[in-house]
């Protein structure tokens, strides 16, 4: 099978990005980026499917120059090919343009399955995989936690999450788009050196301007970011200071005095 996996390069886990002076975006300067975690699960799953079924895996990212790093990670994990749609203007942050570019790349690869993480941790929109499926007129299953492909029948039995521990099994025709849920299989640890070595692997670069997309279709760009804000403090959190022992003492005393324990 041929699988395409879309990977986004997003600000790192444990950092709160600074808001840029213009107020409607973050300040990327000095900010650490990484491959979107849900997309890493998508890569792991694609590679596992390749191991079982044969075929190849192409990792694709859309973003500025730095986004290549996400493809190095994909290569280090075992991807066969990598395509970088270079977008310096919107920096991979225009949802509509991303879907259009992705649809074009996916058509060219003519893949049997397209994987993407369930959600990107930067814009938290969760629409990419679904919109891509619609753009390609392919069936989409979201929040997938298990995939069993029947290559002969050109179908897959997939399990998806429904919340509260409930899951749902369905049969989907190939080709299809699957948005991959966290934890579909364990993420393998990637030694830094393997990522460094992967930097030598060839990446096909496509300038997004050269793809002939029509990002200004009427009504398409319906959402405007007016401003980014720090979330308001709840005003109820009492921070207990001191050494670990002092903090522990204060906490337990307070919990006891208020009858909580």
């Amino acid at each position: 099978v041929k699988i395409a996996v879309f990977v986004k390069h997003v600000p790192g886990q444990a950092i709160t990005p600074r808001i840029a002076a213009c107020g409607d975006r973050i300040d990327e300067h000095g900010l650490a980026f990484e491959a979107n975690e849900a997309d890493l699960y998508a890569i792991e799953e694609a590679l596992q499917q390749r191991t079982t079924l044969g075929g190849d895996v192409t990792a694709v990212t859309i973003g500025p120059a730095r986004a290549r790093e996400a493809l190095h990670v994909a290569y280090a994990k075992g991807a066969d090919h990598a395509i970088h749609v270079v977008d310096e203007k919107f920096r991979g942050c225009d949802p509509l343009l991303n879907v259009q570019a992705a649809a074009l790349v996916a058509r060219r690869i003519a893949c049997d399955m397209i994987f993407a993480g369930i959600q990107a941790e930067d814009d938290m929109l969760g629409q990419f995989g679904v919109a891509l499926g619609e753009a390609l007129d392919l069936p989409v299953v979201t929040a997938v936690t298990g995939i069993r492909v029947d290559a002969q029948r050109r179908t897959a039995e997939v399990v998806r999450e429904l919340g509260e521990g409930f899951r749902h099994e369905l049969e989907v025709d190939l080709p299809c788009v699957l948005t991959i849920q966290f934890g579909i299989r364990p993420l393998r640890y990637m030694p830094v050196m393997s990522v460094v070595r992967a930097r030598l692997r060839p990446i096909e670069a496509l300038a997004i301007e050269a793809l002939g997309l029509m990002p200004d279709a009427p009504g398409a760009r319906g959402m405007r970011v007016l401003e980014l804000r720090q979330p308001p403090a709840s005003g109820r959190c009492e921070l207990l200071g001191g050494s670990p022992r002092e903090m522990a003492g204060k906490l337990v005393r307070t919990l006891e005095e208020t009858g909580i324990i």
């Binding site: 959600q119 629409q127 022992r245 522990a248 324990i261």
Partner: protein, 331 residues
Amino acid sequence: MACTEVVVVCEPARSQAEAANARLIAAGSEFAARAGAKLVCLIAGEGVAAQAATFAHYADEVLVADSPLLAHFDPYRLLGIIERVVGERKPLAVLFSHTHAGIDLAPRLAARLRVAVASNCLDATFEGDTACFTRLVYRGRLHAKVAIDSRPIIATLQPGSAPLPSRSTPGVVTTVAIPPGKPARARPLRTIEPERTGVDIAKSDVVVAGGRGIGSKENFSVVSELAAALGGVAACSRPLVDMGWFGVERQVGLSGNTVKPKLYVACGISGAIEHLHGMRESRTIVAINKDPDAPIFRVAHFGLVGDLNEIVPEVTREVAARRAAPASPQT
């Protein structure tokens, strides 16, 4: 404004869906009032008639599709129903809960209609004629205020508790037909219920949960020991389940369990929104995390900033010491 209806897409009852529906109806009702629009509730599933009757107390109209065909979550069939409603009634907005169903359906509808979708919203309002939403972005570390210019407005709203605006006269309940539709290329096979393991963390008065910040599986003992000292249960956030350390029966959050204990202690949990939904109603919340910016501190009552591997054992010791000598004076 030409459009006069706000449609809220409710979900068949399970415990989380009930809270999500309540919040969705409350937010939709306020949004509709601001726009001078009617509130229309749509509910589709098997055996949802009673639920539909309840919704009538809060909405101008309830649209109900009740059929064994909807026994399993079938996005294409549901989408067919929603698309037909949108086609016939041309609503101003279609609002969903940010649940597994909403996360699936809202972007599908938006893609079909070629309009924008504002997902992960905390609120929905109008400023003048502009529909504005506050969205979670960057793992919930920042909020984005966005305007939606396309119509119908499509958004998903984060679940949460909300008082429901009751009406003096119940709204009309209308049955909607399920469009035939072409044979789907994704066909439901079965719904898989959670495994019964005998563990029910929702029953405990004290829940001590560990998250990604625990670092290694061996370290989880600091969490279990505190749970034992407090006479509670140990639980975890999603990453520990994803890493295969625990089953979903220990997981707190949208995908796992919702808990409302007297005391919830979050150790090394940053507080992703999906986790917060599973524990924010706890009576007292203690957060222990090395990152003072972690969203968990925004729902916590008491915050301890530092290395959980140093702090949690101290808390356990302190609890044990006080339990051993309950009448001892303060040290």
